[in-house]
């Protein structure tokens, strides 16, 4: 039994999974109906479904962020890109009231498919800008993405002209509010992104290349890995993922806010990636870990709300969780802990 536990404990996802289980348990003890799942109005209802739904945008951004961090980079502009993507889609769709066959309906200013493509393209372009700055110009990733983070909010405000654009076109709401096979559509979007990434990373050499770049960029380049191209692509994908998240978020609130959309999202995303076991120094990464990290963050928020603790405590608890997890991930801390445990005298042992 102990050997099974020991082999389990060696697994990279052990501590994140433990944290999530612990949080769910805490939630369940305080909240009687936590594990309840009901089928109403043609789809599943329940706290668990709620957590999955709200964690979906964060999970998508975290997945994009994982690859960037794996190449020793970082992208703190994802929040601004979320705002830009949401603003582009909302601006293009909008929703003007017209009379169709005697019924007042909203039609979108541009075909919805086109608007979505335009929003994702804008987000990918932001990612391309970041990637070129990092790979071609050679800027440090944090400062290169800082530029877009600062300017991006301004650009989003420019697109929305300083207003909050409300979307009236009903089919657009399906992305953030719709249900497919009983589960929220956003969860399917996140799962699709995860599946595609997983296949790309494991079935092709891409995962190996990205890890190589993160572990030793010079060695990877000498070994023939197309380091610059992959770096640019990784940032483009991160921007694209932020665009997807921006669509989910703006569809969920049926509007686009250049100022508040995706605020502090980059910090939550980096946190999710770190909680999942990927080191900020790059190298080995874990997509499942990042998804777990996103779930942990969302469960934490839900737990705090459901316990009845004032929501202001949210940040303090988040800080405590971050402290504990990063201490546990630190080898020095585990060594110090082991030393401290070993120094305590065993009962019955001779001095």
């Amino acid at each position: 039994m102990t050997s099974l536990l020991r082999t389990l404990a060696q697994h990279r996802l052990f501590w994140p999974a433990c944290t999530l289980v612990l949080l769910l348990a805490v939630n369940a003890t305080f909240n009687a109906g936590f594990w309840q799942l009901q089928w109403r109005d043609g789809h599943l209802y329940g706290s668990l479904v709620d957590i999955l739904n709200r964690a979906a945008p964060l999970a998508v951004v975290a997945l994009g962020m994982t690859l960037v961090i794996a190449t020793r980079g970082i992208d703190i502009s994802v929040g601004a890109v979320v705002a830009i993507a949401g603003a582009t889609a909302a601006l293009l769709i909008g929703g003007t009231l017209v009379l169709k066959g005697g019924v007042q309906t909203y039609v979108s200013n541009t075909p919805m498919g086109l608007a979505i493509v335009a929003a994702l393209l804008a987000a990918a372009l932001c990612g391309l800008w970041n990637g070129l700055l990092v790979a071609r110009v050679g800027m440090q990733p944090i400062i290169a993405t800082l530029i877009l983070m600062v300017a991006g909010r301004g650009v989003a405000q420019l697109i929305t002209n300083g207003q909050i654009i409300t979307v009236y076109y009903a089919p657009y709401f399906f992305i953030g509010n719709g249900f497919l096979l009983g589960l929220p559509f956003a969860v399917f979007v996140a799962a699709a992104v995860w599946l595609v990434l997983h296949l790309l990373m494991t079935r092709t050499a891409l995962g190996l290349f990205i890890q190589a770049i993160g572990i030793n960029p010079a060695a990877a380049r000498l070994a023939g890995v197309p380091e610059r191209l992959i770096t640019v692509c990784v940032y483009v994908f991160c921007g694209f993922a932020a665009g997807v998240a921006g669509l989910i978020v703006s569809s969920n609130v049926k509007s686009a806010d250049g100022n508040n959309a995706g605020l502090l999202l980059e910090l939550d995303a980096i946190l999710a990636v770190t909680l999942g076991g990927t080191l900020l120094t790059g190298g080995r990464f874990s997509l499942a870990g990042s998804v777990l990290g996103a779930l942990i963050i969302q469960t934490l928020t839900s737990t705090i709300y459901s316990i009845g603790v004032p929501p202001e405590i949210n940040l303090v608890v988040k800080a405590a969780v971050v402290f504990v997890v990063m201490l546990l991930q630190s080898a020095e801390f585990r060594a110090a802990l082991r030393q401290w445990v070993r120094r305590a005298p065993l009962p019955g042992a001779s001095a």
């Binding site: 970082i74 700055l133 110009v137 050679g138 800027m139 440090q140 944090i142 400062i143 290169a144 800082l146 530029i147 877009l148 983070m149 600062v150 300017a151 991006g152 909010r153 301004g154 650009v155 405000q157 420019l158 300083g162 250049g258 910090l267 980096i270 946190l271 770190t274 900020l280 120094t281 202001e312 405590i313 949210n314 940040l315 303090v316 608890v317 988040k318 800080a319 405590a320 971050v322 402290f323 990063m326 201490l327 630190s330 080898a331 020095e332 801390f333 110090a336």
Partner: protein, 334 residues
């Protein structure tokens, strides 16, 4: 050590060579002069001593935070908690003074000690357990903002006589009725202290060494661990002092004060010529970085017709140009 420039006499005439490390700072000074000059030409009333002093007055807290942040970035680290510590300082000050009727003379040393201890705690975590500064200071940021909200969700206005008196004090400078505030004087003093610390003490030399190559610094026998803790302690102190100045400026305590200030501080340090990789940079550059950010804000407010979000775009563009130039110089030296 090395002078800013040197002149050598070689066959063919005099040749002056400017030390490549100083060029980014000179660049920042040049950008500031050009921008201020542009404003003076374009707008009436821009070219006045009070407008220049207002740059210091309105950005005093940013300058103080910038001093601490410069040391952190010189050592190759980062401190994301500065804005949150400023907010916590304002909130604790407001709560102590308004709700518990402490005097300003008792509250201010307490919040300074609190900020310093906060920085020391983060520095200890980073050094003792070899954690990454990004994550530790990120958690510190969450913690400080969370503590703010624990004290009060809404803002607490400060009506204490001592605070309002200090906030309204204007010290005449002697030129054309221009005056300066206590906060701005504190900022200038902190920049001077920062320059002395960086270039005149062993602490400063160790910081530069750590930023240049931490492993080499350890092998050289420099007190790297102690210095790293001191760096973050100093940054915490600067954040707390900036919080005190911010309290005078806003006369309120609020959890949403100084959101995003850490990025403005990093931008000011980088625009001022300090490399994010550490090891190179001058404290005076940070002061000019802050002045540049201030002058952009002033330009836009003088223009009146541009919306405020253009500020973000212009700062982003300026950041881009500075970093691009830094990269070019790095590559040329490389």
């Amino acid at each position: 050590m090395s002078a800013v420039g040197s002149a050598t006499f070689a066959p063919g005439g005099w040749r002056t060579r400017i030390d490549a490390r100083v060029v980014p700072v000179l660049g920042a000074v040049a950008v500031f002069v050009v921008t201020f000059g542009f404003g003076s030409i374009a707008y009436n009333g821009f070219f006045s001593p009070q407008v220049f002093l207002n740059l210091l007055i309105d950005n005093a807290f940013l300058a103080i935070v910038g001093v601490g942040m410069t040391f952190v970035i010189l050592s190759g680290g980062i401190d994301l908690s500065v804005g949150a510590v400023i907010a916590l300082t304002t909130m604790v000050s407001a709560a102590l003074v308004e709700q518990h009727h402490w005097s300003a003379a008792a509250a201010i040393p307490l919040v300074l000690a609190m900020g310093t201890a906060f920085g020391a705690f983060m520095g200890w975590l980073i050094t003792r357990f070899r954690l990454q500064p990004f994550i530790v200071t990120l958690a510190g940021m969450f913690l400080a903002r969370g503590l703010c909200y624990l004290i009060s969700i809404d803002s607490i206005s400060i009506t204490d006589a001592a605070y309002t008196a200090i906030a309204q004090t204007r010290i005449p400078v002697g030129i054309a009725d221009a005056s300066i505030t206590v906060g701005a004087l504190l900022a200038l003093a902190m920049v001077a202290i920062g320059i002395w610390l960086a270039h005149g003490t062993e602490f400063g030399r160790t910081v530069y060494a750590i930023g240049g190559n931490e492993a080499s610094a350890v092998l050289m026998g420099l007190p790297v661990a102690r210095t790293t803790v001191l760096i973050y302690t100093f940054s915490g102190f600067c954040s707390a002092l900036a919080g005190v100045v911010f309290t005078f400026y806003m006369l309120s305590g609020y959890g949403l004060h100084a959101v995003g200030l850490e990025l403005d501080a990093i931008a000011a340090v980088v625009i001022g010529g300090t490399l994010l990789t550490g090891g190179t940079g001058y404290m005076i550059g940070t002061l000019f970085g802050v002045l540049i950010l201030g002058v952009i804000q002033t330009l836009i407010s003088f223009d009146g017709s541009l919306s405020s979000w253009w500020t973000r775009i212009v700062i982003g563009a300026l950041l881009f140009v500075s970093c691009l130039l830094q990269r070019i110089f790095e590559a040329r030296r490389g």
